[in-house]
């Protein structure tokens, strides 16, 4: 009898695991389909008399990019100084503090600038996207678009995706500049050199390859943030509470996806 009960519990657990896995795969598939459909509308929209319009793209770009400038500036500046302090401290331990510029420049351009910008934009714009789509869904606005013969993907998703794919690399580039600059503010006096000498050293150290490494990642992040936001927003059910739940979920998923993808990218490219 007890064994039967144990088996019963086990099957229930396996059942739940199976359903959970199926839901996860379905969500992943939905995301992939969204990317495919977005590319389709970008390429074929004009032919189908449903062009992707520039106006909404620009509006989204302003919101995603220009709106995030202040906070990206503050945080990348802070991280530049933080890296400089840690770098000087740790390299001093074996008397190599003169090499600190190399470490700071590489880690800012290749890692910290894209990562911090991605996380910030996921929190600012990914969540806003999920909340907006979720509210539109429970308000039947998505249905209204569909029955009007206007593709919701073309009308709502593609502008956000394009704006994100343009603005996130721009913000990353800006974060690179600010981070390297503030790091220099600390490093130059510490090494007893000048800002001019520091800038010279940075420009000779940072290769095109390093910049592209960071920017390529930020393009991947931009797709992840948009798709995670849209998938969560489109799956909202159950009123205002559902919108809140899915918005939180979209931020957590987007940041996790960014960090994990970052690791995989680095593993594939840098070894």
């Amino acid at each position: 009898m007890a064994g039967g009960l144990g088996v019963d519990k086990l099957t229930k657990m396996l059942d739940r695991l199976g359903r959970w896995a199926v839901a996860g795969v379905a969500e992943f598939g939905f995301g992939a389909a969204l990317v495919g459909e977005s590319v389709f509308w970008l390429a074929m929209g004009r032919k189908r008399r449903q062009p992707v319009r520039l106006g909404p793209v620009v509006a989204q770009a302003m919101e995603i990019g220009i709106g995030a400038l202040p906070i990206v500036t503050v945080l990348s500046g802070t991280i530049g100084i933080m890296l400089a302090i840690q770098g000087v401290y740790s390299l001093k331990l074996f008397g190599a503090e003169s090499r600190v510029t190399l470490g700071v420049a590489m880690s800012t351009v290749r890692e910290f600038a894209p990562l911090i910008t991605g996380i910030l934009v996921a929190g600012r714009s990914g969540s806003a996207l999920a909340a907006r789509l979720g509210t539109m869904r429970i308000n039947q606005e998505i249905d209204a678009l569909t029955v009007m013969g206007v593709s919701p993907v073309r009308f709502l998703v593609v502008p956000a995706l394009v704006a994100m794919m343009v603005m996130l690399p721009c913000l990353t580039l800006w974060a690179d500049l600010v981070g390297l600059f503030t790091a220099g503010l600390y490093i130059a006096p510490q090494l007893g050199s000048t800002m001019g000498a520091y800038v010279n050293e940075v420009t000779s150290l940072v290769q095109m390859n390093d910049m592209l490494h960071g920017l390529a990642k930020s393009v991947i992040f931009s797709v992840l943030i948009t798709i995670v936001g849209v998938v969560n927003g489109a799956s909202v059910s159950g009123g205002a509470e559902g919108v809140g739940h899915m918005t939180t979920r979209s931020v957590v998923h987007a940041i996790s996806a960014i960090v994990i993808t970052d690791m995989i990218f680095v593993f594939m490219v840098t070894r």
Binding site: N139, D143, F155
Partner: protein, 279 residues
């Protein structure tokens, strides 16, 4: 504008529609047809399946089996492009209005024109204001949906639904949640639209007064089945107790099966309440 609507036999045709949510059957062999220029009211209490039926008519949900034909085109067999074209010939006014909250009323109504036609902005502006006049909302085009009252939102939603001069108009609970005077004005508006533009109109509602006022024919849905499909007079004269209960607002008769009642109370889920729709 040249229209092919004269050759259309039925504006809407539903044949043997069945739907399930999970294991539960919502619609049972529902069949109905709406003639051109006719106002068909789909009536039924909460949970009768009328919203589900509307979602099928709008092509928002695929049925388990059966056929939905809108303007002689089978919804299940259309290519995406054909479907998009068909949707420019139909209009929908949702229960909550479903106006885009980020846009002004004028932009909401102009949206289908901007997306589907090559008209210049001046013409679009004129057509938008024309439809606003039709629904007596002239001068409100710059307001946001949040700044309108419930009745005004419903009228704005109607204006958006008819801006492309559709051949078929679907209205979901056009008068629900409104006071009797405003509700009556919406009914008048629907009648005017049919008379002036000759559209076929499908109205889904549980409002009896408005049903009798606007309907040419009534389809009474009950527990996912078509209980009656007839003219207003015939429905009024019907001797069917279920229909009379609905018309006279009597509650349903007492539980016919005490055993089933007891089983439900005991939480016995081995015998699912077959076919009982969601309330």
């Amino acid at each position: 504008m040249s229209r092919s609507s004269q050759s259309v036999a039925h504006s809407v045709e539903v044949i043997d529609l069945n739907t399930h949510y999970g294991d539960r059957q919502i619609l049972h062999n529902v069949s109905l047809e709406v003639k051109q220029g006719e106002i068909m009211v789909i009536m039924g209490g909460s949970g009768s399946g009328k919203t589900t039926l509307l979602n099928h008519l709008l092509g928002l949900m695929p049925p388990t089996s059966g056929t939905v034909r809108i303007l002689d085109q089978d919804l299940g067999r259309l290519t995406p492009l054909e479907r998009q074209k068909l949707r420019t010939r139909t209009g929908v006014a949702f229960q909550s209005g479903a106006l885009f909250s980020s846009m002004s009323i004028g932009d909401n109504i102009a949206l289908p024109l901007r997306e589907h036609t090559d008209l210049d902005p001046t013409t679009i502006g004129i057509m938008t204001r024309l439809k606003l006049e039709v629904v007596s909302l002239a001068g409100f085009e710059n307001l946001k949906p949040a700044e309108l009252s419930g009745g005004m939102i419903k009228r704005a939603a109607l204006a958006r639904a008819i801006v492309m001069d559709p051949e078929v108009l679907f209205c979901d609970e056009p008068s629900a949640g409104l006071d009797p005077v405003v509700a009556s004005s919406i009914d008048d508006l629907i009648l005017r639209l049919r008379d002036a533009m000759g559209m076929s109109i499908v109205v889904v509602t549980h409002d009896l007064d408005s049903t009798f006022k606007i309907a040419d024919r009534i389809c009474v849905l009950d527990k996912g089945k078509v209980l009656a499909l007839d003219t207003v007079e015939a429905i009024r004269a019907s001797t069917d107790t279920r229909i009379q209960n609905l018309l006279n607002r009597r509650t349903e008769e007492a539980e016919p099966d005490p055993d089933a009642y007891l089983r439900r109370l005991l939480g016995d889920t081995s015998t699912p309440p077959d076919g009982t729709p969601r309330t």
